[in-house]
Amino acid sequence: MPQGRSPILELREITKAFGGVEALRGVDFALYAGEIHGLVGENGAGKSTLMKIIAGVHPEFSGHIALDGREVRFRSARDAHAAGIAMVHQELSVAPDLSVAENVFLGTQPTNRFGLVQWRRMAREAGEQLARFGIDVDPMTRLGDLPIGLQQLIEIARVLFSGARIIILDEPTSALSPPEVERLFTTLRRLRDEGTGIVFISHFIEDILRISDTVTVFRNGRKVHETEAAATSKAALIEAMIGKGREALEETYAHDITLPPRGNRPVVLKADALSLARSVQDVSFEVCAGEVLGIYGFMGCGQLELARVLFGKIKPDSGVVLIDGDRKAFASTAAARRAGIAFVPESRRAMLFHQEPVYKNISISVLDRISALLLKPARERSIAVRQVDQLQIRPAAVELDLGMLSGGNQQKVALAKWLSYPPRVLVLCEPTRGMDVGAKNDVINIVRELSAKGLAIIVLSTEPETVLSLADRIIVLKRGAVVREFAGEVVSKDRLLEAA
């Protein structure tokens, strides 16, 4: 880090809790002008929370922020923006129905003295800015018509050219192709040389090492390591991220796991060369009866899209899904369900009916098996009671509205709805995300039991622990493509992270 200068931004003793859970504990952080500062850490380590505090998104916290040595307190993102701090958030936040030019100038459209937008000037300037960034699009195109990666680039461009002195980029490269990443890096270096302070968050440690001057590692809401990028390595950073120390060992699967050898069980589902726009690229794999296939990758690696292709929610551009050797082209999720595929998305909200009782949530996916025309409430309830019993859903009251259950129990209901008539293939996205240890273990045990009964299971997760604790075989996705398969060999969290 540059010596002998005072930082443009300095944070001291930042602590932030969300509903009793501490996301940040006494973090100090300094950013200098003309520096690119890389941040790494696992999901939930506190990187994004800290950056959102800087950008004024979370106004409630304890600690001090000093800008140019003067103490400041941002009450909103607007305040932070006015002070010259701009952030590209992890989730795309563009206006897809507006033109490219309007997105570039969002909120700052050039106007004439009557307050009317100067369209021609806006289009011209937007075109020039984007061209500097190596993007060649018609500024009047509707942004939503462009590929996601390009939309992300345009959002980044907007922030980079906003004139901010401090720029925060949260996971900016997840949807970008290698040449686009290069262009981004060239621009970032130029801005740095012009004196801008840049924070760069990424799961891609190679990217962090290449672009950063300084790297800071977060773990469990604490800053655990800060180093010059030139003086460290990928392995050292991964070790700092996971923590080889005593504190987290039993929880993190940092130790090696030996995957079982592949038996010769029958293949149930085969994905053959699935491709979808920019998110899934030529992905092929097989899942056997009684096998749990883990699909691991960082956020934005295409696994959510892949899962939706398998369940007929999204139509792939090319490639086929075969079940028991039969080619299937699912026109709808209903068709996928009838073909024996069960799906639990990463968001419980997207899966469950919070204002309906538990038994209706459990019976919904099998209703056509238990009743032709008329409902059979007694049968529905008995099915629900059996599932509640088997999966130990608490409280064990099937008449209770689902919304009154805890997150972990809701997740069990999301599983339960598929199990009264077992499917052939179970696709689980992030099955243990945001759950406490007890509920996590329950879900892990349920999945193992189902697998032992001969179900083919696909677990997709961005959490290495989840995949390691469940999978018999693991494939790693990176930018939409399969980059590594672990089968019948020793694997550990380090190795997974290394591969992704």
Partner: protein, 344 residues
């Protein structure tokens, strides 16, 4: 019927939840019922001619056509969609059934007289077809129902105009005449038809698999899709159901009014939507039902009828109706919020 679902639900929950919480979560069912009681009480005191058996019969007859349309509309609103073409489809179906019936010689319409059963079947096919177009526009092309049915409103009005060309037809098949304007044992057939259709709608929504799907799609469409339901088929079906209910109301309405002409049903669009929403069926889908719609029908019926019994400036009545509808909408949206909070 209005609160049957609510009552069973609260009985099961009684142990865990306070009375206030139950009250809050049942606001949607309680508020319209209270409105109905208050309105009836007010008019009974204000006018001696209101609270009579004869007048009850009047109210029932007056809400019958709206009631038949509201059956189908309840399905649509439960799915968090809307159908603005109901009145126009009622109108065109009523005109069609007259068009296929032999008219008196002084009626100057180039019509196509057919046997009564054929006229009825063709008219039913017409409204089902228009509903199917709504369904395809919504599900296959992806046009929001608000816009799709707005277009259908014009299309149906256009077909009506072409069929009658500004003329008025009077004759409809005998069966339709009987059901629309006849009575049995002092009870008008149209009231019986409305009651039977409301009952059928309630049974379908409460006791069939399809009815459950309607509630689930309305409650959380994304979750319904991720549960492997054929959401498009369900949405398409409710649009067809709505159109057919409107068509039946249109045929009987023509017989009831004694004539078939352009723009005859215009007021039924707002009345039907008002009946469903005033009754407490959620505009956001998934909550409510035919029981609510019946309460809503009575609120509207009592209001319209009662205002005729008291001495009020007839121009003021329109404003009063508007204000009552606004109040119901406020309660509808507010009830949704209270319930969401109660669920947390």
């Amino acid at each position: 019927m209005a609160t049957s679902e609510g009552v069973t639900a609260s009985v099961h929950r009684g142990g865990q939840r306070s009375a206030a919480a139950i009250l809050r979560s049942q606001m949607r069912n309680i508020a319209p019922f209270l409105t109905l009681i208050c309105l009836s009480g007010f008019f009974a005191i204000a006018s001696p001619s209101f609270a009579t058996l004869d007048n009850l019969g009047n109210i029932l007859t007056q809400v019958s056509v709206t009631g038949i349309i509201a059956v189908g509309l309840t399905f649509v609103i439960l799915c968090a969609e809307i159908d603005l073409s109901i009145a126009a489809i009622a109108n065109v179906t009523g005109i069609a059934v007259a068009y296929f019936t032999l008219q008196e010689s002084y009626v100057n319409i180039a019509n196509v007289p057919l046997p009564g059963w054929a006229a009825i079947l063709l008219s039913l096919a017409l409204c089902a077809l228009l509903g199917l177009v709504n369904a395809l526009g919504l599900t296959v092309i992806g046009i929001p129902s608000f816009i799709m049915t707005l277009a259908m409103m014009q299309i149906a009005a256009g077909i009506s105009a072409l069929l009658v060309r500004g003329q008025i037809a009077y004759k409809v098949p005998d069966l339709v005449t009987t059901l629309g304007s006849g009575s049995i044992g002092g009870i008008p057939w149209i009231v019986i038809v409305a009651a039977v259709m409301l009952l059928a709608g309630h049974l379908v929504l409460t006791y069939t698999r399809f009815g459950r799907y309607v509630y689930m799609v309305g409650g959380n469409r994304e979750a319904a899709e991720y549960s492997g339901l054929n959401v498009k088929l369900i949405l398409g079906s409710v649009m067809v159901i709505s159109a057919v209910c409107s068509g039946i109301a249109g045929m009987l309405g023509v017989a009831h009014f004694g004539s078939a002409q352009q723009n005859e049903f215009d007021t039924y669009l707002l009345d039907s939507i008002a009946a469903v929403v005033v009754g407490g069926t959620s505009l956001f889908g998934g909550r409510g039902g035919i029981g609510n719609t019946i309460v809503g029908l009575f609120v509207l019926g009592v209001l319209n009828n009662g205002l005729d019994h008291v001495n009020i400036d007839s121009f003021l009545k329109i404003l009063i109706r508007g204000l009552i509808l606004l109040a119901a909408l406020v309660i509808n949206v507010y009830a949704q919020r209270l319930r969401a909070r109660a669920a947390e």
